[in-house]
Each structure stands twice: as structure tokens, then as C-alpha cells.
Symmetry: C2
């Protein structure tokens, strides 16, 4: 049942304004660890927020998660010094983890948003994609994936919002939205 | 940290031709059980196939999964007698589980496809949505969600394929695609 290594790792992107981008990445992680693959998730921006998945992820084998951020949304462009520093740290870790080749799947959650906020330079992500070991699958999530990233990625899915209950004044709910 | 019950359960739909529908539902399940919610997943059509997530799901608390199907794709419309019988059994279980109110989230994976193949009647799903206990969140996945279902659902996301590697002759890979 185990499949210790992928022959060829691709670059996947989940973007768009709809729900399910991070969830799809976590679902993918679940499938992968079910096969004995090793997964590393680095979350940009989300650190310090209270997400339901964090309570269960730590109990799962072969899955490591590290979240970066100050527990509040980055809204300023260019962002403040502290946010820039944290994002740099997150991206340095991403490079190290990807290039180590020790993880079959590396998920960079919300990195598309980080690029759009200029917390991470798009060229640096492009370089990482070009330099990644052949067997490593790279998964990039978040709204606003830059066109240059889409162009060099293999599998791109846009989560498109068709209908959203927030428009009916329903607030975010624990266990569902966070 | 635990949130024993949702105040109001919505109806979510993940549809479209892109990747990530089932994964998004599994990611949602992961988040929910992280909060102590109870999740039941019923898979239409997929039973008998070897999916990576099955190996890990059985180890997770508060998550039950039951897959129905013959381990091969249903392509005939109307489908054969055996497939109809299995789908009926799956939908009977779905009704029972939803109406029991014992599960906070019920995921009917690939039910949209089951409706499009006429394995399950759309009116019956509409009735189930109307009759579900207030606190139960219902998640319907699969391509080809019927318009009548989208109309009465609260949160609808279309996974849109922007780019797919199968078009570059890359085959499905264990741990990623199944």
C-alpha cells in the first residue's frame, strides 16, 4: 500500500474567490499520508489564528505544519516591517523544506495571497518551482495567484464562488469556516 | 475548544470539472473533527476503488466513512440494476444518517454525479435537504450538480479546471489522485 516516493512531482495551484482552497490542500495531504507519503504544510499569513484543523493535524503521522503570521490580516501594501520579516522567515523555511527533498508534498498555504500582498516576491517562488527536486509535489493555495505562477504550474484549479451565505449575513462558524 | 453542535447547518455544494471537490470535503471534515464535531461521509459510486484517504480516515476520531459502488465507473444511463440497487442502499443510509441528527456534518460524496447518472433522483435529494434537522450541515460533492440543487443550497463552489496535467499524458498517481 505504501508508495514511498512520487516519480514526478508536479506544481498544483488552488486559487479563486470560492471556498475550499485550503481544505482541498488538507484533503490532499490526508490522501497522501494514507499512502505513506510525507507532507509538510507551511501557512503564510494564517499563523496565530485559531483553525479547527490544527487540533487534529498534530495527531496525524507524516504531516508537519508550521504557521506564520501575527494572528491578524495583512491589509497594508506594502506590508509593515514585522509582517515582511515573518513572511521572509516562512519563505526561507519553504525553500529549505522543498530543496531538502525529504518531503513528498510541500503545501504553501496562502502563498498566492502573500505574493499579491508583496510579502513574498513572485520571482522567488518561480525560482523555487524551477529548482525543486523532481519528486517533490508543490501545492500553492490562495486567491490571486499571479499569472506568471499559473503559466509555469501543471495543475491549476480555480475555486469559483457561485453562492455564499455570508451574503445572507451568516457569520463564520467554528468547525466549518475556521 | 469543542463546539458540540452547529447552530445552523447549511447546504454546501462542491461541483465543476476541476480537481479538489472530494479533497475539499475531506479537508472540511478534518477541520470539523478538530473542533469535536461528528462527521459522516457517504461515498456514492466510489466504493471498491482504492483511495489513499481510506487508510487514514479509519484512524480518525468522530469520522465515519461508508463507500458504495462496484469498484468500476458507471457509464450507462440508465445504469444497470445492480448499480441502481447499491445507490438506493447508499441513499437510504444518507437519509437515515441525516435525519438522525447525530452527526453535525454529513458529506454525500459524488452524489451530484449519482444524480446526473439517474442513480439517485434529484427530487429525493431536494426532499432530504428540506427535511434535514436544522443543525446538520450537508455537503454535496461531484460534477454536474443539478440546477435545482444549486438553487436551494446555501454555499456553492465551482472547481474550475484551468490547467490539467492529464492533458500532458501524465497518469493518475497514488497518494495524489487516488
Amino acid at each position: 500500500m505504501t508508495n514511498p516516493r512520487l516519480k514526478k512531482g508536479l506544481v498544483q495551484v488552488y486559487t479563486g474567490d470560492g471556498k475550499g482552497k485550503t481544505s482541498a490542500a488538507f484533503g490532499l495531504a490526508l490522501r497522501a499520508i494514507g499512502r505513506g507519503l510525507k507532507v509538510y504544510i507551511i501557512q503564510f499569513i494564517k499563523g496565530g489564528f485559531d483553525y479547527g484543523e490544527l487540533y487534529i493535524v498534530e495527531k496525524l503521522p507524516n504531516l508537519t505544519l508550521k504557521a506564520f503570521g501575527q494572528g491578524k490580516f495583512v491589509t497594508q501594501i506594502p506590508p509593515g516591517e514585522k509582517d515582511m520579516k515573518i513572511a521572509k522567515e516562512a519563505f526561507e523555511l519553504a525553500k529549505k523544506i522543498v530543496k531538502s527533498g525529504k518531503y513528498d508534498i510541500v503545501i504553501l498555504d496562502e502563498i498566492n495571497v502573500a505574493m499579491s500582498l508583496r510579502l513574498v516576491k513572485t520571482e522567488e517562488v518561480i525560482n523555487l518551482i524551477k529548482e525543486k527536486p523532481e519528486h517533490v509535489e508543490l501545492v500553492l493555495t490562495g486567491r490571486y495567484a499571479p499569472k506568471e505562477i499559473i503559466d509555469i504550474s501543471d495543475l491549476v484549479t480555480e475555486m469559483k464562488e457561485i453562492k455564499h451565505p455570508y451574503k445572507k449575513n451568516i457569520l463564520a462558524r467554528a468547525g466549518i469556516d475556521y
